[in-house]
């Protein structure tokens, strides 16, 4: 069941078609059922316990079986991600989970990410300035990334320089971390989708980008 979830996971939804209408629920409660509140308690607790960083937790969700991901709500994603991490860290076992739940406890697929060790030195000074033309590297890493698929290989313009932050691709799989500048990059519709339309701004880490000076 985990045949194709390692690269370009199902979570990377931008631009996909066939999902139908957005269903807005009037006067939606914060939690629909008591278990959703418990799922948030568990997830916040897992973060406060220091057992996972953001990249590790997100990637645990991204490795969910594709059909399970699409067929379950977001708080079920959180639950699956936390449970997967806890099992991988050896803090609980699948047997314990299934025995206690009285049934199957589906977890995410294996982590196929590659560690970047040593992670290298932090980059503080931004390489690009607002208005620079850049192209997003076209690559498909086996592990975690925050570079949406629809932006890969596309050229855009630096619209804003944001904070220096830990690179998710590294922190998800490595002992150490490396920080570098982040940017908001503007992409025209023609470039992303091949037809006229409205622009999309995507927030990207510096190493996702390369200079672009041609056509």
């Amino acid at each position: 069941m985990w045949s194709n979830v390692f690269v370009d996971g199902v979570h990377d939804l931008g631009g996909m078609q066939g999902f139908g209408a957005v269903e807005v629920e009037p006067d939606e409660p914060v939690f629909h059922e008591p278990w959703e509140r418990r799922a948030v308690v568990i997830t916040f607790g897992a973060f406060l316990s220091g057992t996972s960083n953001g990249g590790q937790f997100r990637h645990a969700i991204e490795r969910m079986d594709a059909a399970h991901y699409l067929d379950s709500s977001y708080y079920e994603h959180w639950t699956t991600g936390v449970a997967t991490r806890m099992v991988e860290l050896g803090l609980v076992t699948v047997d314990e989970l299934e025995q206690r739940a009285g049934g199957a406890f589906p977890l995410s697929g294996p982590d196929r990410g590659i560690a970047t060790d040593p992670p290298g030195d932090d980059v503080i000074a931004p390489r690009y300035v607002v208005g620079d033309h850049v192209r997003v590297r076209n690559w498909h890493p086996p592990g975690h990334t925050r570079c949406p698929r629809y932006a890969r290989g596309r050229q855009g313009t630096i619209a804003r320089i944001d904070i220096v932050a830990s690179v998710p691709d590294i922190e998800a799989h490595s002992e150490g971390q490396r920080s570098e500048p982040t940017y908001s990059v503007r992409f025209e519709s023609e470039e992303l989708w091949g037809e006229p339309g409205d622009p999309v701004h995507v927030d990207l880490w510096e190493s996702y980008l390369e200079p672009f000076d041609g056509h």
Partner: protein, 200 residues
């Protein structure tokens, strides 16, 4: 399937996800990894104290105070903190202002990033595949479908919060509200207008 623990008065079958969540919580508590009692208070705070009513105060202030508006657009995090709002998922706020020629709308295509301190926890549709898939691909059509028609001569700017920034849309102040107080203005600002899927 088990039965709901502790519910002696109205026993009913529990769903697999309820059983899984209960199992995970019990095991993590027994092993001392999480302390549900402490966390209950934190989650109650998220449920009751954080929400669009906070963002609405920010927007109303920006409408009545041009200098605050400038600060808000220049450094969203600091200006929002002036009103007492901040914390996780609100540490790097960027506020994008709608104008007669630009309409902004926010999405997180990769997961569910959302500015918790000013909007609370996100609604289901924001985290579900249709919105995340379609907003970057066909924003104008999707907004229309959601009841938010944007004139053809207005540029729609989609912001995919794929890194550390969390976005808040500053809607345009509706006409006819010149005499309204700041508090009254806050009362008309909706969650959806601050995500950008509605105009006021």
């Amino acid at each position: 399937m088990g039965t709901e623990a502790g519910s002696h008065h109205h026993p009913r079958p529990t769903s697999p996800i309820e059983d899984r969540v209960a199992a995970l919580e019990a095991l993590l508590a027994e092993k001392g990894i999480v302390d549900p009692n402490t966390l209950d208070d934190i989650v109650a705070y998220y449920e009751n104290e954080l929400g669009p009513m906070n963002g609405a105060k920010v927007i109303a202030r920006a409408w009545v105070d041009p200098e605050y508006r400038d600060r808000l657009l220049d450094n969203g995090t600091a200006a929002i903190h002036e009103l007492g709002f901040g914390g996780p998922e609100g540490d790097n706020m960027v506020v994008v202002a709608n104008t007669p020629s630009i309409h902004n709308v926010v999405v997180c295509t990769l997961c569910s990033c959302y500015p918790w301190p000013v909007l609370g926890l996100p609604p289901r549709w924001y985290k579900a595949p249709p919105y995340r898939a379609r907003m970057v691909r066909e924003p104008r059509a999707l907004l229309r479908e959601m009841g938010c028609s944007i004139d053809d001569d207005v540029e729609i700017r989609v912001w995919d919060s794929s890194a550390e920034v969390r976005y808040l849309v500053l809607p345009m102040r509706p006409e006819g509200t010149e005499a309204s107080s700041e508090e009254e203005l806050a009362g008309i600002v909706t969650r959806d207008s601050m995500i950008g899927v509605a105009v006021l």
